[in-house]
Symmetry: C2
Subunit: 325 residues, 2 copies
DNA sequence: ATGAAAGCGCTAACAC
DNA sequence: GTGTTAGCGCTTTCAT
């Protein structure tokens, strides 16, 4: 094998591969050359078995979250994770966790098949994985809801501040009757954005009674918009908790002949295709989607390396003003 | 360990785990019970090292394809793969292959770290992975372009037939001046859909000179639509090679005050959010996206198992008539 | 049908 | 700094 070719022992080869500091430069050179010449690639299984590190991290997507694969947000996060990892020695295992046997997934995680796990979940009850947090480094995507306990590491954006900032635009435009189409109230993002809207209105002394709930999908946004309109109030401002829902809401407004921002101001969150190509293009919040994935991976690797990382990593967002307020 | 608990040897335990037929039912029962009782989970690395099967398949996404992660098509395929695999013993490794060192990726694949690979690529030059086809079971998503050689296994839909079928609707509506916004001509799907459009027109004796090319994104569809309109021809029918491009094209038509299907018929491919929520909703082709992922995984596992699978697996599509032709 | 023994390819003490 | 010696936890001949 490589050892013979380089004229050293297997141990030295191993040390070079693992970048041990205690190897002479000459030895490193000889081994590297031999590796190159032979096109040698270490066997992962053997390394794992001997060292008890798998060099693998799992990305767990609970099944009911998987249904939202079409959501560009998730796709972007996954992409961020994969891209960050591709620059490291680590490998990514994608796990769609059937809720029928979350047990199976948890066992897999605890069986030492991975060095850590990233958990991307949509709903509150998805967090059945918090149990593994004690036995394995785990990083959640998005602020986990109560059940996780205070120790859970997560990466997220400040949804409260983002929602508040964008709603402030509505207020600044002189809107006084401001409604919201909120996200699901069993998701942190849904709750936080609603809270941000409330804070903005409270600060301006405006009533916060016009609330309809959607599930972040365009169809749910359209339905919520209809309910809002049918309630009979004359709204002059609207904060929709996601651009996908805003797109649905906008369809309904067009149907009814209501103009944005002429008849009412409309702002949202997510600077994706929906916000950009809406007519009119929407004032919104740009959040770092692939960035969330990248940081999740980074935090996890730090945790695995024994680093001592703060439990929460909050990424900055940016307000994109397109004049739709 | 389990052997002691069940009162048998390690070999027997191993046989039970690997479902060897030569074990008495009693032994199986005893071992299964012991496994259950102890919550035993076999160590993957050790199994792999001893058996030389990794129980892992790679899903390779060339970096320039990764940019299209937002494309719901890709997300759906990945989801299909992951969900199919979750029902098997196999694990999915997601590999974003930097084109800078495709060498690294190929080595990884050849180093025996996976039992097979699924390759999802967008463009012609992505297919640098065809080289591994000889050394490892490989299944491509989408018909690979020439370079792969005839042996390459792939799963796809019949894009030619689909495009032809939907264009036929335009013809059936009496449209005589039918243009197309085609996909990239370095992708099989782009070429095939253009070909289908041509065949439909040829059969009807209609000229096929009105062609603009896009890259499947909404923005490119809008740009192509502008070029088509500015060419000055009065078009009465249009086949757009993807719903995302159709959405962009429709925006331009609205801008110019052209009505669908009043002024011109518009049909496309993909029954996704874009086709469904377009105004008007579009006559289109529904293709099994997660189905493609599932079949890719299924074919790969068959290949790994030594099965002898036909090189191409063509999945059926369905025409969805929404009256936009 | 089952057990005993010999590795799979590597890393990790431990000496030198 | 480098080599030697044991395993890591399984599967797999080979006997029995």
């Amino acid at each position: 094998m490589v050892a013979a070719e380089a004229g050293v022992s297997r141990s030295t080869v191993s040390r070079v591969i693992n970048e041990s500091p205690k190897v002479t430069p000459e030895a490193v050179a000889a081994v590297s050359a031999a590796i190159e010449r032979l096109g040698y690639v270490p066997n992962r299984a053997a390394r794992t078995l001997a060292s008890r590190r798998t060099l693998t991290v799992a990305l767990v997507i609970p099944e009911n979250t998987a249904r939202f694969f079409a959501d560009p947000y998730f796709a972007a996060v996954i992409q961020g994770v994969a891209m960050y990892l591709s620059g490291t020695e680590y490998t990514l295992t994608l796990l769609i966790a059937a809720e029928s046997d979350a047990v199976k997934t948890r066992r897999y995680l605890r069986a030492g098949n991975v060095d850590g796990a990233l958990i991307l979940s949509h709903h509150k009850d998805d967090h059945s994985y918090s149990a593994v947090t004690g036995e394995l480094p785990v990083v959640f995507g998005g602020r986990p809801m109560s059940a996780e306990g205070p120790g859970a590491h997560y990466v997220d954006v400040d949804n409260v501040a983002a929602a508040r900032a964008v709603t402030d635009r509505l207020v600044a435009s002189g809107r006084r009757r401001i409604a919201t189409i909120a996200g699901p109230q069993d998701m942190a993002a849904g709750l936080d954005r609603l809270e941000g809207w409330r804070l903005s209105l409270a600060a301006a002394g405006i009533a916060d009674d016009l609330v309809e709930i959607g599930d972040f999908s365009p169809a749910s946004g359209a339905a919520a918009m209809r309910r809002l309109l049918e309630a009979g109030e004359r709204i002059d401002g609207l904060f929709v908790a996601s651009a996908q829902m805003a797109s649905g809401a906008l369809d309904v407004l067009h149907e009814r002949g209501l103009a944005v921002p002429g008849d009412l101001g409309l702002v949202t969150i997510d600077d994706d295709y929906f916000a950009q190509s809406a007519r009119p293009p929407l004032t919104t919040i740009d959040q770092p989607t692939t960035g969330v994935g990248e940081r999740m991976a980074e935090v996890l690797l730090d945790l695995i390396a024994g680093g001592d990382v703060p439990a929460s990593t909050i990424l900055p967002t940016r307000l994109v003003d397109r004049g739709s307020a």
